[in-house]
Subunit: 204 residues, 2 copies
Amino acid sequence: MNEKGLLIVLSGPSGVGKGTVRQAVFSRPDAKFEYSISITTRKPREGEKDGVDYFFKTREEFEQLIKDDKLLEYAEYVGNYYGTPVDYVQETLNAGKDVFLEIEVQGAKQVREKFPDGLFIFLMPPSLGELQNRIVGRGTESEDLISNRMEAARKEIELMSMYDYIVENDDVELAVDRINAIVLAEHHRSERCVSKYIKLLEVK
Amino acid sequence: MNEKGLLIVLSGPSGVGKGTVRQAVFSRPDAKFEYSISITTRKPREGEKDGVDYFFKTREEFEQLIKDDKLLEYAEYVGNYYGTPVDYVQETLNAGKDVFLEIEVQGAKQVREKFPDGLFIFLMPPSLGELQNRIVGRGTESEDLISNRMEAARKEIELMSMYDYIVENDDVELAVDRINAIVLAEHHRSERCVSKYIKLLEVK
């Protein structure tokens, strides 16, 4: 076939549960995506592993990657850098595999500029109150940090109409069902597959 | 919610298996569509029932409906009229339910003009040879009619890039899975649901 893979970008406000949904996406036995692990300078949370959840780097290391143009996108968010290694994404797409990115909203904006035909999914909290509960419930943040995060979340939610799809995270497994349906559907969008079908008709 | 329903249009070349796929869509226990039964002047095939598969009408009756502007679309195809009653479709969409149309390619073009934000799915034969097998295998058509149908099919397939989605009918159940994924995904497209989510955030 030699079709290029699909770049799937899952984003949304901090605290909405992007990481949990991403893990649930990949724990399905029929998951067909390649996951692009992000690079970050923030400290690992309990249970997070280097090279699995993130590549954890120092600020100096991260800034060198920026200089070397080795990042598809990066953002500084609440005092920490987050970024996506570009080479891995390009190679995987060229090999015809779908790449799944889970990134912050600022980063998603940069990826949109470089990959306008990527598939951008905004993960939505059921309500702002619920989002606050989750951020507070995490128990790792100070009060000031919480109110900063809530303000940032409000701004990020205003960006949701820039995305192709909006998925409510009212239930993790339902959110995964929706994401999988979106990816399957996108593979059948005519602008993505019409040339393949015309070829099929000619060859057989 | 008071959201309007989605108009889903399944079309494709004659003989591709639209009717079989439509039946399989509706035989799923979780099918949530309202089916809009078409009106036709062609003779019922064996097993087809009036008011179930089609409303079977005379040419005179059909032409009266055209005059009264009671058809969302209609087409004359290989000597017979096919059409969709407009009132049922409008009322059902306004009630927030998705309507599923299975229609000929000419008719789909007319619906596109009236419902540009409908969801248009082109059902694709795995190959033109396969399509011919199916048309011949039906055993109800003369040789001339078969070659007419094949020529028409070739022309119709050229129209597929006007559709939103292309679904291969290599396997009926797989085709239904794809259609269901497409419908679920479309309900999450941001242009369809962003206003609903903004409201949710404000209210709670």
